[in-house]
Every structure is written in structure tokens, then in C-alpha cells.
């Protein structure tokens, strides 16, 4: 299975050197990649249908528990087949759709990358690798949505999609890691056994909250739904692929995958029911007001995703069966409708529903595909959609709470909306009078209209013989979602019961709505009045606010002036230390313990203070340097007075050498210039004195405390006994703490090398300003 994931990644990178070649007729090779992968997974169908899980393990970062663990069960297989199968259709379709585009190669590189990432998501048996691939899908879809990178809208949509799904990914990671840590394993197949432990853990609500945010952002659930209509700026093959069958379903996949691990609790089910239920109704109604074909499809997709979330929230066996079937139903008809829309757009250069009509006269095969898909979406008996809808109604009607009737009502309303939306997208452009402008429209390449036709026909075939798909795919899928064995048999005819009546009623009402509802610009504008309370508007505002704040922050804190950084750091330190000092109460001095003061110390201190005053006030560079060395010598004398001969010698020699260094370098520089205005030095002086006072107070406070001399005593007592030395300072340096000294000499050597190379380095004249 690893190879199927890698194939896409490798070919995608191969398109960098061979991209040019692929723009020629060799591009015919591209669709064969998904074909091969599709066949590979098709070949696995009988194995998985028997209930076997194919597992593959490859160590990657074993120390972190990140490994390439792949597992193929019913759920993964269904998704893998969708990804590669619809991928095949899209590759054929996209090759013609983008023929001659300057970034043709780039497009397929992104698409392949995306396909691999998607396969990785659904096959990963390790939640961390799952996350890695999850992020990869976000990134590759960012490139795909922003493919028309010269359009500002396209770029903005791509950014919105990336930030929403990326943010979700961040939460998802947190949730996954939490769950993994609690369960003690990151392997999905091992997590199944940890269900009880996870569900009863006190952090359980947090975990599922985080996972939900990840799934909802990806699957465009309310209130994160708005990136999906925006993402329709992508070329239509991308919308067909990403936003019907694959990427947006990744969130659904995640929820389904984690249902046996985290699900089956009140909290899990209720949240999914509410979010899914609201999303499906909200989006189904919204779809009816759109005039842009792709926009209609986008909203009906959101609604379908809502249905899936809703079904997972029901949490009954019937609901899982319904979900497993509806995933396939929706993928088939929605991909078809998207591709049809793409053809219409490609040939007529408009997607405006108010302008389109009568295209059946010129695009007959496309019309057939569209009608089949629209009927499947509407759930006409004998289509696959009918079975899907039946199962949904069955699941809601048999829900064990009293809400069954209300849930069913929600499902019916949603489906009425979807019926109408499906007709609008699939039938409306083809019926009525053909506008004169479109009379010259002709059929596109075969590779563009055959794939949607095949998908649409499949919808019909599965509808008539539901046993094929039921036994081979959906049964195992439902088992994987439920996490336990269940019985399932798909039949076309369930008998004349409530469900059937509901189905027919839905179809009829939907059709009426379709005929009554005339989407127009005016209605769209009326709907858009509510935009200022929409999540999109709010999030955009928040985004703008964050931008403003960071601009302000950057201006204040990162203004590029070193001294401004300094003063902020110092002020902060003063506040912190001052607060701590204040907490500690008054500073006391133990006069009895002080060493006596002699006149020469006083003299030295006086010289020191004078030199310091000179440094601060002088405008001559030389005076400043000389004063610094005077300070150094004074400190050296202090060391002499207070029994530190080693320090005195070192300070003396170092001070001499530093002065020599200064003189060597600085005598060429100009005198100081007074840059600052009058007020600034006073402010700085106050800050500086404040800092000095605080440090002094800290010193006094420490002095008052008795200090522990255990370590010093150890060194003092053992200097000779253990290290045969009598100068304790030297013994510490070369023996007790010899390693530190060793590294100190290394640091010094590095400094010397730095100086050496700085001086020897000769910039080329071009690098000078």
C-alpha cells in the first residue's frame, strides 16, 4: 500500500523535470497512474469483502511512534476506490479541460500530490501519519484552489481554505495526540480496544471537541462551511475531485474512522446530530438561491456532508449503513454534476443559471449524464440515490428516541432542497430555449464527456443491482464504521411502506420547488443582506483585526531600533524584579557582619565613580576608553584587597589587552556625536538608575541571607587531599571543573577564529553598499 501512496508523490516530483514533456501528447500517460492504483484496489475488493484487513508496517520514526502503518479495511477501501476511481475520471477529464494551459504540468503535479495525500489519510493506521497526510491534503488543495494565481479572488479563497482547514488540522493534532497518549498507542487498529478507557477519561470532551473542529473544518460543517463555496474558484476538475468526492469527505472519513474509538456516547452523537442537522438544512436551503452553477453544487455538497455527519451522529446500525451507501451515492452524482458544469463552463464560458438553457440540443451526451446524475440526486426509484435516500429515512424513522419524527422531518426538508438543487444544476441548463449565443456550442473532446457519463451510468447500474456494491463495498464499510459485525443487504424494492411514501413525497415536493423557485440576482442579494452575521463575515473581521494588531505590535515592539528593544527588556526586568523585591518586604542590612572600611578602599571607589561619570558624559572616544580601563584597574585593586590574587592578575592583564585592542581599532573612528534630543537622556538615566538600584537592593537582600558554603568547603578541604593543589581557585579550574575550563578554551578559540575570519574576509565590491 505504501507504493500506492508514494506513486503519486514520486510522479508529482518527476513532473518538475519532465513537465515540459507532459505538455505534449505524452500527457496521455498521466491518467494511467490513477487507473493502475484503481485496479490495485479493485483487486483487493474480494479480500476485504471477506472481512480481512490488510495491514502493512514500515518503521519511519520509531522513537516517536511515527511509523508508516497502513491498514485496508472496508472504510479505507471504499475511500481508496473513490479517490482513485473518481481520480481516473478527473485525470482524463482534466487533461482535456486544461489542454494548452501554461501550467498544465503544475496542475497535474498538485493533483497527484493531492491524490497521494488523500490515499495516505484513508490508509494510515497511525494517527500521526494520518495527521501528516491530512495536512498534505490541506496544502495541496491550497495550491489547487489558488491555481489561477493571477486572480486575486482565487488567491483569497485559497488562503481562506488553507487557514480554515489548517487551523482545524492544528486542533486535530492536539486531539489525536491527547487520545494517543491516554490510550498509550498511536495505532488506530489498537485504539479500538481502548474505547472504554478513552470515553471514560476526564479529558474525553476536550479530545472529541478538538477532533470535531478538525473534521468540521475539513468537511465544511457549519460554522466553518464558507470556505467551500469560495473554493469553487478552482478549476472545475479540482472542484469535482476535491469538493465532491475526496477532500471534504476526509472529515467524514475521520469521524467514521473514530466512531468505534471515540463514538457511541451521548456527547459525540448529540454534537454530530446538531451540527450535521443544522448544516444540511441550512445549506440545502441556501443552495436554492444561487445562480452560479458551481455555487449551487457547493452548497448542495455542504448539505450532503451535513447529512453524512448527521447520520454518523444517529449512531445506529441503520445510520451507519445509510452513511456507507450515501458516501458512494453522493460521490457518483456530485462528481458527474461538477464535470457537467465544467463542460458547460468550458463551452459557453458562463455558469450563470439565468443565462443558460436549451443546451440539450447541442450537448446531448452531456445532457444524459446530467439528467442521470440529477435523478440519482433526487432519488428517483431505480437510481442509486433512491436507495441512499431510503436508507437515510429508515435510519431516522427507526431512531430510538422520541425525536425520530423530527429528525425525519429535517432529513425530508434537506432532501427536498437537494432534489431541487440537483435539478437546477443538472436539468435547468439543458431545458428551455437555446439562446442564440450558444448555437455554435459543440461537444468537447470525448475524454471530457465520457467520464461523467460513465459515473452517471454507474449510478443507474448500482441502483438497479444494489447487491453488487452492497456486498462488495458497503457492507464492510458499515462494519468498519460501527466497529462490530452487522447484517446488511441492499435491495432496490423495500415494499410499499412509510419510507417509500416519504421518498415519493420528497421527490414530488422537490420537483414543485424546482419549478416554483426562480433563482435571480435579486433573491441572491436579498440573501446576502444577512452576510454581516454570517460566520464568514465574522471570521474575516477577526482576521482583519489580528492583522491590524500585529501591525501595531510590530511597529511598537519590532521597530528595528536596538535601544528600543533594550529599554523594553530592561523595563520589563525592572518591573518583574521590583515586584519580587516588593513582595519580599523591607531590605535589611546586618551591620555587625560587614568588613571594615579603610581609607584606600574609599579612594579607589572615588576614582571608580569619577571614571564612570566620565564615560557616561564624555564626547571623546579616547576618554571613554581610558575611563573604562581605569575602572578595570580599580576593580583589579578591589580584588587585591579582598583576597583574590588570581582575579586581580587576570583582571589586570585582560584590562591591559582590552585597552590595547581598543586603541588599535578605535583611534580611527570619529568622536561621538550627540544624536538624541534633550529629554531622552533623562528618561534613559532614570531607567538605568532604576535598574542599578534594583540590582543593589537584590545584592543587599542576598547579603543578609546566610549563605550555604557546603560546596566551597568541600573544595577547600579536598583541594590538596584529592587534587594535590593548594591554590583552590586554580584547582577548581583545572581539576574539579576542568571540563568547563576545557570548553571555555574552546569558546575562546572560536572567538579568535571569528575575529580572524572577520578581518581576513574581504567583501566583493558588489556586496558593499
Amino acid at each position: 500500500m505504501l507504493f500506492t501512496v508514494l506513486t503519486g508523490l514520486i510522479t508529482s516530483s518527476l513532473l518538475v523535470p519532465f513537465g515540459k514533456l507532459m505538455k505534449t501528447k505524452w500527457s496521455v500517460l498521466l491518467p494511467f497512474i490513477p487507473v493502475i492504483l484503481f485496479l490495485f484496489y479493485l483487486w483487493h475488493v474480494p479480500v476485504v469483502a471477506n472481512g480481512t484487513n490488510v495491514i502493512q508496517h514500515l518503521a519511519w520514526v520509531p522513537s516517536l511512534g511515527v511509523n508508516f502503518d497502513f491498514r485496508l479495511d472496508g472504510l479505507s477501501l471504499l475511500f481508496a476506490l473513490l479517490i482513485t476511481g473518481i481520480g481516473t475520471a478527473i485525470f482524463f477529464y482534466g487533461r482535456s479541460y486544461l489542454k494548452g494551459h501554461i501550467y498544465f504540468d503544475r496542475f497535474f503535479a498538485y493533483l497527484l500530490l493531492f491524490m497521494s495525500a488523500m490515499l495516505g489519510v484513508v490508509l494510515s493506521n497511525n494517527i500521526l501519519t494520518l495527521f501528516v497526510f491530512w495536512e498534505l491534503t490541506s496544502i495541496s488543495s491550497f495550491f489547487l484552489i489558488g491555481f489561477n494565481n493571477d486572480s486575486k479572488e482565487s488567491r483569497n479563497s485559497a488562503l481562506t481554505a488553507l487557514s480554515i482547514t489548517g487551523l482545524g488540522g492544528f486542533f486535530l493534532l492536539a486531539g489525536l495526540v491527547l487520545a494517543g497518549n491516554i490510550a498509550g498507542t498511536f495505532i488506530i487498529s489498537e485504539l479500538f480496544a481502548q474505547h472504554d478507557k478513552l470515553v471514560n477519561h476526564s479529558l474525553y470532551p476536550l479530545i472529541i471537541g478538538l477532533v470535531f473542529i478538525g473534521a468540521f473544518t475539513k468537511s465544511a460543517q457549519f460554522p466553518f462551511h464558507f470556505w467551500l463555496p469560495g473554493a469553487m474558484k478552482a478549476p472545475t476538475p479540482v472542484s469535482a475531485y476535491l469538493h465532491s468526492a475526496t477532500m471534504v469527505k476526509a472529515g467524514i472519513y475521520l469521524l467514521a474512522r473514530f466512531t468505534p474509538i471515540l463514538g457511541n456516547t451521548e456527547l459525540w452523537n448529540t454534537t454530530l446530530l446538531i451540527v450535521g442537522g443544522f448544516t444540511m438544512v441550512f445549506a440545502a436551503i441556501h443552495a436554492l438561491f444561487r445562480t452560479d452553477l458551481k455555487s449551487i453544487l457547493a452548497y448542495s455538497t455542504i448539505s450532503a456532508l451535513g447529512i453524512l455527519t448527521f447520520l454518523l451522529g444517529l449512531g445506529t446500525t441503520e445510520a451507519f449503513i445509510a452513511a456507507s451507501v450515501f458516501i458512494l451515492v453522493h460521490a457518483l452524482y456530485k462528481a458527474t454534476l461538477f464535470m457537467v458544469t465544467g463542460i458547460i463552463d468550458h463551452e459557453t464560458h458562463t455558469r450563470d443559471l439565468t443565462k443558460l438553457g436549451g443546451l440539450r440540443k447541442v450537448l446531448m451526451p452531456v445532457f444524459i449524464a446530467a439528467v442521470l446524475a440529477a435523478l440519482s440526486s433526487a432519488g428517483l426509484p431505480s437510481t442509486f440515490g433512491f436507495i441512499g435516500k431510503d436508507l437515510i429515512y429508515e435510519a431516522t424513522l427507526h431512531y430510538h428516541h422520541n425525536w425520530a419524527i423530527w429528525l425525519t422531518a429535517l432529513a425530508v426538508i434537506t432532501n427536498i432542497g437537494l432534489v431541487a438543487a440537483g435539478f437546477m444544476a443538472g436539468i435547468k441548463p439543458f431545458t428551455g430555449k437555446l439562446p442564440q449565443a450558444f448555437e455554435q456550442v459543440h461537444l468537447p473532446y470525448k475524454s471530457m464527456w465520457i467520464p461523467p457519463l460513465i459515473l452517471a451510468v454507474l449510478g443507474l447500474v448500482f441502483g438497479i443491482f444494489p447487491g453488487i456494491t452492497g456486498d462488495y463495498f458497503n457492507h464492510q464499510t458499515a462494519i468498519a464504521i460501527a466497529g462490530e459485525n452487522l447484517e446488511m443487504e441492499l435491495k432496490m424494492w423495500h415494499g410499499f411502506n412509510t419510507v417509500f411514501i416519504l421518498s415519493l413525497a420528497t421527490l414530488a415536493t422537490g420537483t414543485i420547488v424546482y419549478f416554483l423557485n426562480k433563482p435571480s440576482e435579486a433573491k441572491l442579494r436579498a440573501i446576502e443582506q444577512f452576510n454581516h452575521i454570517s460566520p464568514q463575515y465574522i471570521i474575516t473581521k477577526i482576521g482583519a483585526g489580528i492583522k491590524q494588531m500585529s501591525a501595531w505590535y510590530t511597529n511598537v515592539f519590532h521597530n528595528g531600533y536596538l535601544r528600543s528593544y533594550h529599554i523594553k527588556i530592561i523595563l520589563f526586568a525592572e518591573l518583574l524584579l521590583g515586584y519580587k523585591l516588593w513582595l519580599g518586604g523591607p531590605v535589611r542590612i546586618d551591620y555587625a557582619n560587614l568588613t571594615p572600611l579603610s581609607w584606600y578602599e574609599f579612594g579607589i571607589a572615588a576614582i571608580l565613580l569619577g571614571a564612570m561619570y566620565l564615560i557616561v558624559t564624555t564626547r571623546s572616544r579616547l576618554t571613554a576608553v581610558v575611563s573604562t580601563s581605569v575602572i578595570g584597574y580599580c576593580i583589579c585593586l578591589m580584588f587585591v584587597f579582598y583576597s583574590a590574587p588570581d582575579l586581580a592578575m587576570t583582571q589586570f592583564t585582560i584590562d591591559t589587552l582590552t585597552t590595547v585592542l581598543f586603541v588599535l581599532v578605535l583611534y580611527k573612528l570619529p568622536p561621538f556625536i550627540n544624536f538624541t534630543s534633550r529629554g531622552v537622556p533623562i528618561r534613559d538615566a532614570i531607567v538605568a538608575l532604576g535598574f542599578g538600584i534594583i540590582i543593589s537592593l537584590i545584592a543587599l537582600r542576598v547579603l543578609y541571607e546566610p549563605n550555604s558554603t557546603a560546596i566551597s568547603d568541600f573544595y577547600g578541604e579536598n583541594a590538596y587531599l584529592l587534587a594535590k593543589g593548594k591554590n583552590v581557585v586554580n584547582v577548581i579550574l583545572v581539576d574539579f571543573r576542568g571540563m568547563d575550563t576545557m570548553f571555555e578554551t574552546v569558546v575562546l578559540s572560536i572567538a579568535a577564529l571569528g575575529v580572524y575570519s572577520l578581518i581576513k574576509l574581504r567583501l566583493k565590491s558588489s556586496e558593499k553598499e
Binding site: G560, L669, D684, A688, G716, K726, L733, E744, A751, L763
Partner: protein, 118 residues
């Protein structure tokens, strides 16, 4: 006399801070050096200073017979002094190079003009 040393180190810190708030690169460097000196004295004072009894064992004995100055702060400061020389020399040379390139001692001249449209 501890109080005197405390006063000196406080003033060294103050002078150091004041200098690093200047625009001149040389003053910045001098400020860093003063801060270093201040820190050395701080460590020194905190180790309880003693007069006239260096941490060297008398020739005739194998262990200390009387009170002696704390050797640990001394070892620390010795290291610090030597390292600060490495730092200072590197900084001085850096300063020299910058001066050769920019022909100014003003730190603000090192700022590249901001791109307004970022």
C-alpha cells in the same frame, strides 16, 4: 566594605544600561563591558568577601587552618573575565568592519529601509 561594593556595582549596572541605550555602537560596547564588570562584582560580593586570606592553603598544611575567601565566586569570575575578553575583541572587530562598510557609528544607520507594502 560590602556597602561600598554594592554601591559601585549598582552604579556600574546603571552606567552600563545607560550606555546601551545610546545610539553609538562604541557606547553600546562600553556599556556591555561595564555590565560585565558589574556582574563580576555582584558575584564577588554575594560570595561573602574576606580580607587578607586568599583561598590558598598554607605551605605547611594540607587543609585550611583558618577562615579563607570563598573560591567558587573567584573561579566563576576568572572564567567570566577571560570569556568577556573574547566577547569584547569579537565585538570590537565587528564594529570595525561595520564602520568600514557603513562609515558610521550610528546604530540607526544599520537599519535597512522598511518595505512599506509588506
Amino acid at each position: 566594605m560590602e556597602l561600598l561594593l554594592v554601591l559601585i556595582l549598582g552604579l556600574l549596572y546603571a552606567a552600563g544600561v545607560y550606555l546601551i541605550l545610546r545610539r553609538s555602537m562604541v557606547k553600546l560596547l562600553l556599556g556591555i563591558m561595564l555590565l560585565g564588570n558589574g556582574a563580576n562584582i555582584l558575584i564577588f560580593v554575594l560570595g561573602k568577601i574576606t580580607k587578607g586570606s586568599p583561598p590558598v592553603i598554607n605551605e605547611a598544611y594540607k587543609v585550611f587552618q583558618e577562615i579563607y575567601a570563598d573560591p567558587i565566586p573567584q573561579a566563576l569570575i576568572l572564567t567570566a573575565i577571560v570569556i568577556s575578553f573574547g566577547l569584547t575583541s569579537f565585538a570590537i572587530v565587528l564594529l570595525k568592519r561595520v564602520y568600514a562598510l557603513v562609515d558610521s557609528d550610528d546604530l540607526d544607520d544599520l537599519n535597512t529601509p522598511e518595505e512599506e507594502d509588506i
